[in-house]
């Protein structure tokens, strides 16, 4: 493998990683605030992707505009899930909510298969590539990277600079103390799940311009997002980005050297390895 290929694969992986990071950061946010692992996260990504696909397919709506339909829709869905299901299990052993959300995931997959069949779909809106210092960057990946970065920065600013963001961070540190300080913890949790679902939806929206996606893809996405936050460090917002870049590059190299399908297995093995060797992740504190 010459240097040019190496660089090409790294850049391709980094671009993809930024999109994964957006989804993983949402998973991390829910875990940080509620100690709940959202098993349906990958399925929320799928719903975001399909919203975009149908808007494009039926009315030719630009996926960038589709983003502003997918995000509010998924925010609402996340809100509803939190309000009626997850809320009842916050504070209980994390396995309870995990198993319950597996049920949610199955229902979403089943509904998706019924409504849209198991065909893979994509939105080939951006085609071609740009040549940058000898490396060719596909337009779709470049655009997805830009959007993902903008959204991630926006979420980060929201968490750092606004009152609601502060309330979310406070609840993540200690729900009880937050409650004592007069923060409406229930509402913070609703907002958190809604926001995280919107981030998943946005990631799905961006991914469907790069990859072909079928309604059953959720668990694959979930495992990748989970691998990312484990590698980066659970509960660490920045860690998700480092983890995502690692996973993106790992995936791009293994699909080049072995096969696209084997790339998934490589990521799963990396997940298991990291859980064992460095459970705190690269950035996370030791629990």
């Amino acid at each position: 493998m010459d240097f040019q290929t190496l660089l090409q694969l790294t850049v391709g992986g980094l671009l993809l990683g930024a999109v994964y990071a957006l989804a993983a950061a949402g998973l991390n946010l829910i875990f940080g605030v509620m100690r709940v692992v959202n098993f349906a996260h990958g399925d929320l990504m799928m719903l975001g992707a399909y919203t975009t696909f149908w808007l494009y397919q039926l009315w030719g709506i630009n996926p960038v505009v589709g983003l502003f339909a997918a995000m509010p829709l998924l925010f609402a869905l996340g809100w509803v899930l939190q309000r009626f299901l997850v809320n009842r299990l916050v504070g209980q052993p994390p396995l309870m909510s995990l198993i319950m959300l597996w049920g949610v995931s199955l229902i979403i997959i089943n509904a998706g298969l019924l409504a849209w069949t198991s065909n893979v779909r994509s939105v080939p809106y951006f085609s071609g590539g740009i040549d940058l210092a000898g490396i060719s960057i596909s337009r779709s990946r470049g655009a997805a990277f830009l959007m993902a970065t903008v959204l991630s920065v926006a979420v980060w600013l929201f968490l750092q600079r606004t009152r609601w963001g502060k309330a979310i961070r406070a609840t993540a540190q200690s729900a009880e103390m937050a409650l004592v300080c007069g923060i409406n913890v229930d509402r913070v949790r609703l907002l958190t799940f809604g926001l995280a679902a919107a981030m998943a939806g946005a990631a799905g929206n961006l991914l469907i311009t790069i990859l072909a996606i079928s309604p059953g893809v959720g668990p694959t996405f979930l495992l990748k997002a989970f691998a990312i936050i484990v590698i980066g460090g659970l509960g660490s917002f920045q860690g998700a980005f480092i983890g995502a870049l690692v996973v993106g590059v790992l995936e791009s190299f293994s699909s080049f050297t072995i096969s696209a399908q084997a790339a998934d297995a490589v990521v799963y093995f990396a997940l298991i390895l990291f859980l064992l060797v460095r459970p705190g992740g690269l950035m996370g504190a030791r629990e």
Partner: protein, 308 residues
């Protein structure tokens, strides 16, 4: 156990043994699969229900057993019973080192690591084409006698239920429960938690490997999707939780009831399979986390101190 209970047990087994002579082969095949599901749920219950380590990827062991048995039958002409036992030993052998490393993880981490393992094994079965023929699957010589497989599955079920019962009524089982309730306290009381967890994990991998081999022989065809599919892992979770997790009778009750439901309902509406599973999981977790057994207890139909 009292003589009355032994009598009921003996009678049940005698009826089950006589059934394939009376029933049409379609019904026999249904019972055979019910035995398989009860075996899978009971095995899963040993690590998840007794020991508290919920696995989301137990299909890994089922698939491994199925592939080992199928390859031994096809490539080496091994007898199917011997091949299935070899599959069980391979599954248990994999569980041994895996248990040492994975059982250091707790709660959701262990669950998702197992999910990743099953998914990775499915990818391996799909990509290692020279060994497994990949997605086109393996064809086995047809199993001519349904009754033989029926008895094999039935005996596997009886064995795993007996093992479950033996465990939970022994000191060993009490130690497993202690680990489930509070691992640090168990450790502090002098229980070698690693040995206990790993041995429970190995036992809970052995039986899925065994019935995986029987299943491959029964169907005469396997592919990566059919033996590693996540719905199998989900099935073990939902059957056990529906019946009553952590009890001997829960997985039996859940396995039989869900097999019946699937026979009546899903045979007509196969496209709703996953959704109904999903809805059941949500309902059980939210409304009935102890399963039917706990419902029967609270209604006074079972004694409060019922543990099996």
């Amino acid at each position: 156990m009292s003589w009355a209970r032994w009598g009921v047990l003996g009678l049940t087994l005698a009826v089950l043994a006589a059934l394939p002579l009376l029933l049409p082969s379609y019904r026999t095949a249904f019972l055979l699969l019910t035995f398989m599901y009860v075996t899978l749920a009971s095995s899963w219950n040993i690590i998840a229900g007794y020991t508290g380590y919920v696995s989301f990827g137990h299909a890994a062991f089922f698939g491994l057993g199925a592939y080992t048995a199928a390859l031994l039958i096809i490539r080496l002409g091994v007898h199917w019973l011997a091949a299935a036992f070899a599959g069980a030993f391979v599954a248990a052998l994999l569980a041994l080192p895996l248990g040492f490393v994975l059982l250091r993880l707790r709660g959701p981490y262990f669950a998702i690591a197992m999910l990743g393992l099953a998914a990775a094994l499915e990818v391996v079965a799909n990509t290692w084409v020279t060994l497994t023929r990949g997605g086109s699957g393996l064809n086995l010589p047809p199993a001519l006698s349904l009754v033989q497989v029926y008895f094999a599955m039935g005996l596997a079920m009886v064995a795993v239920v007996a093992v479950s019962y033996r465990i939970i009524t022994s000191r060993y089982g009490l130690r497993l429960v202690a680990i489930r309730e509070d691992e640090q306290a168990a450790e502090a009381m002098g229980i070698n938690t690693t040995v206990h967890k790993v041995s429970a994990f190995v036992i809970s991998a052995f039986f899925p490997g065994l019935v995986g081999g029987f299943y491959a022989w029964h169907l005469s065809y396997i592919d990566p999707n059919s033996v590693f599919r996540p719905i199998l892992s989900i099935g073990m979770v939902i059957m056990t939780m529906f019946g009553g997790i952590g009890t001997v009778s829960g997985p039996i009750l859940g396995g039989v009831l869900l097999s019946l439901v699937s026979e009546v309902f899903w045979a007509r509406l196969p496209e709703l399979h996953r959704g109904v599973f999903g809805a059941l999981i949500i309902i059980v977790i939210l409304l009935l986390p102890g399963g039917i057994i706990s419902l029967l207890k609270s209604r006074g139909m079972l004694p409060q101190n019922w543990r099996v």
